[in-house]
């Protein structure tokens, strides 16, 4: 009897990846048109409702992929006298204060204040904020609804909401601009209120037996544990995709922006793209393993081997991003010339320097709560010092490319990378020994 069943593992991942990649043309066509309109009319306030409309769907989709928390009342709270209405108000407030919900504002704030009067800027930002809040709250309510009959109303309302907003943006009643924007904000508030009232009617149970979906049993190589842990960590599984998306979208925008002609902008985005993915995996160094470190330590797998598996994974991540960036660069190439050796040098620097520096995170890692869906504060904390250590070599690399001619910068980064790769066995040995000599302290941190 064969107990180990092998099945395909990637189809779900593929769907998510393709969905994210589909955002590229959507954003390109919407923002591309906006830019043309803006440059023609010079009426920045005029395009505000259109921009708001254009961010509606991409923002919703991005939150759909990234926002995972269900904000379910925990059993301990449920058995205490806390009313559903109070909890739902808390959820609403939580969405309001969640900076992740309104990340788009960070892009719009400088643009708005530079291009419009104070009142118009404030109103525009309030509108963007309302849309971000509404999207975030709608996703939260969608995730709170446990069955399709409860999810369906949210989806149906969404289908009506988009055409309604599209009609409103056209301004058929010819409202003055201020009234038009205030009306738009009020519409969003009305929707939020409707969602809140709806949330009070749905019953949410923390029914653990629901979590019985069939997992795809994999055939593990040494590297797989790195990726499987991230892919199955409820809170973090989309982090890598998010990083890949952001990096490639940034690269896409730089390559397609006629106003950007200096090489450094392109170098910057390529460097960050190549380094970004290993960094994302690196910041979780031993944070996932903290959940089962006792089991690892008592089995014949040394810390050195665990670290080597991680290092190999980071090199593959960087190589993957290098290839992706190069392909994108070749497809959308503009007049800025980037030699292929620049990509190679950056990959070498990442493999030889960055991927080693990341290992400092192993000394400061806390156990990361991988699966919590209900509202809880993760015990995983980062140290400012640690972030400074990790980001220092990135800044150094960027400074090299900023101040030196690209040919010399390439030689410098490639050389540092080669030295790092040559010293790799010694560096890894040092990290492993250092970790093992302080292991009791780290193990204790994971248990807390």
């Amino acid at each position: 009897m064969d107990y180990i069943i092998r099945e395909k593992v990637w189809h779900k991942t593929l769907v998510v990846a393709i969905s994210i990649l589909l955002l590229f043309p959507i954003l390109y066509f919407t923002f591309g048109d906006m830019a043309d309109e803006l440059s023609r009319t010079k009426r920045f306030d005029y395009v505000v409702p259109y921009v708001a409309l254009s961010i509606l769907i991409p923002d919703f989709l991005l939150k759909y992929f990234v926002k995972r928390e269900k904000l379910v009342m925990s059993d301990s709270m449920k058995t205490r006298p806390i009313s559903t209405a109070s909890w739902n108000r808390f959820v609403l407030l939580n969405c309001l204060l969640d900076s992740g919900n309104s990340y788009l504002l960070f892009f719009f704030i400088p643009v708005a204040f530079m291009s419009m009067s104070f009142v118009k800027s404030v109103l525009s930002l309030l509108l963007f904020f309302s849309i971000c809040w509404l999207n975030g709250y709608a996703i939260t309510i969608y995730r709170l609804s446990q069955d399709w009959e409860y999810k369906a109303p949210v989806i149906v309302v969404g289908f009506f909401w988009v055409p309604l907003v599209t009609c409103y943006v056209i301004n058929p009643l010819s409202f003055p601009w201020v009234l038009h924007i205030i009306g738009f904000i009020l519409l969003c508030m009305l929707m939020i209120y409707g969602l809140y009232k709806y949330s009070c009617t749905i019953h949410v149970y923390t029914d653990y037996s629901r979590n019985t979906k069939k997992e795809y049993v994999t055939h593990f190589s040494g590297l797989a544990i790195e990726y499987v842990s991230m892919m199955r960590a409820t809170r973090y599984r989309l982090f890598p995709f998010y990083i890949i998306f952001n990096c490639l979208f940034g690269l896409f925008l730089v390559l397609n922006n006629p106003y950007i002609s200096n090489t450094f902008s392109l170098e910057l985005i390529v460097i960050l793209s190549i380094i970004g993915l290993p960094i994302i995996y690196g910041i979780f160094m031993f944070a996932f393993e903290g959940n089962y470190m006792d089991g690892l330590w008592t089995r014949p797998i040394g810390i050195r081997r665990v670290m080597q598996v991680k290092y190999n994974g980071y090199v593959i991540d960087a190589a993957f991003m290098t290839i992706l960036c190069y392909v994108l660069y070749r497809i959308f190439r503009n007049e800025i010339e980037l030699p292929i050796c620049f990509f190679g040098a950056t990959l070498l620097f990442t493999s030889g320097v960055i991927n080693h520096v990341i290992f400092f995170t192993s000394f400061l890692a806390k156990r990361c709560e991988m699966f919590s869906n209900s509202f809880s504060i993760t015990p995983y904390r980062r140290s400012f010092l640690l972030e400074a250590v990790v980001f220092l070599p990135i800044i150094v690399l960027l400074l090299i490319y900023y101040f030196l001619p690209i040919s010399i910068a390439n030689i410098a980064s490639a050389l540092s990378g080669i030295i790092g790769v040559l010293l790799h066995p010694f560096i890894m040995k040092w990290f492993a020994q250092k970790y093992e000599s302080n292991r009791y302290k780290y193990f204790e941190q994971y248990r807390n």
Binding site: M1, D2, Y3, I4, I5, Y208, N211, T212, K213, K214, E215, Y216, V217, T218, F220, I225, V228, S229, R232, A233, N291, Y292, M293, D294, G295, W297, T298, R299, P300, I301, G302, M370, F371, Y440, F443, E444, Y446, R447
Partner: protein, 234 residues
């Protein structure tokens, strides 16, 4: 494999939670650790597995200090708690992972898993669930099977009867005895369940406030009355 404990102490703050001057566990013995909460049962097991730092003394497995030489990991199977499981793996993946670490081939793994069929009740394999989604009892079973599947010469189990349904408790007790008879495995088991512990153990160590206060030979459950009397009188 012989285990020797020498001058082993563990102190938390100003409280000594474990203090064992000398103890030898000879090859092929089944040691039952009993004691009330806070007696130091789990602490001693954690020290044997080098999971916490001893304030003084050492544990030697087959002549080597466990905190200096990792050779013991190749022949020791253990399960203390859920931190010994990889929560995002399915049981199949987890057993496969463990087998890989001990160079157990796939065919051999399947054969060994067959031996634990009765314990799994068709509830563990083939479910497609991640380990974290199993009940406490089934997680406990997965951990115990993973510890035993490597055919260890030293087996360390903390409260193996906890969370288990009655029939699984019987099966676990039987498996402990079987592995001891078949492979001459040295077993150290802690438990609050006096009936089962006296059923499986050949020697009982009674702990209280970090000290071994009784070392009772146990043949066919002979220590049960003494232990029951001791705990009843407290």
């Amino acid at each position: 494999m012989e285990l020797i404990i020498k001058n082993l102490t563990k102190v938390y703050g100003d409280r000594t939670v474990l203090d064992i001057p000398q103890q030898t566990i000879t090859s092929g013995e089944i040691i039952g650790l009993v004691g009330n909460n806070g007696a130091g049962k789990t602490t001693i097991l954690r020290l044997m597995l080098d999971l916490i730092k001893a304030d003084s003394g050492e544990v030697r497995s087959n002549g080597n200090a466990v905190n200096e030489d990792s050779q013991w990991k190749t022949y020791t199977g253990s399960y203390i708690d859920k931190r010994f499981l990889i929560p995002f793996y399915t049981p199949e993946e987890f057993f496969h992972f463990v087998a890989k670490l001990y160079n157990i081939k796939q065919k051999e793994l399947n054969k060994r898993l067959e031996e634990y069929h009765q314990m799994m009740h068709d509830e563990i394999l083939g479910t497609g669930k991640q380990i974290r989604h199993f009940s406490e009892g089934n997680q406990q079973k997965i951990g115990i099977i993973a510890a035993m599947i490597i055919n260890p010469t030293v087996l360390i189990l903390d409260e193996p009867f906890n969370y288990l349904d009655p029939s699984s408790q019987i099966v676990v007790a039987k498996l402990i005895k079987q592995i001891n008879e078949r492979l001459a495995t040295t077993v150290i088991v802690s438990s609050h369940n006096l009936t089962y512990i006296t059923d499986v153990a050949t020697r009982i160590l009674l702990l209280e406030k970090g000290k071994i206060i009784k070392d009772v030979p146990n043949k066919n459950g002979s220590a049960l009355d003494e232990l029951t009397g001791y705990f009843a009188s407290m």
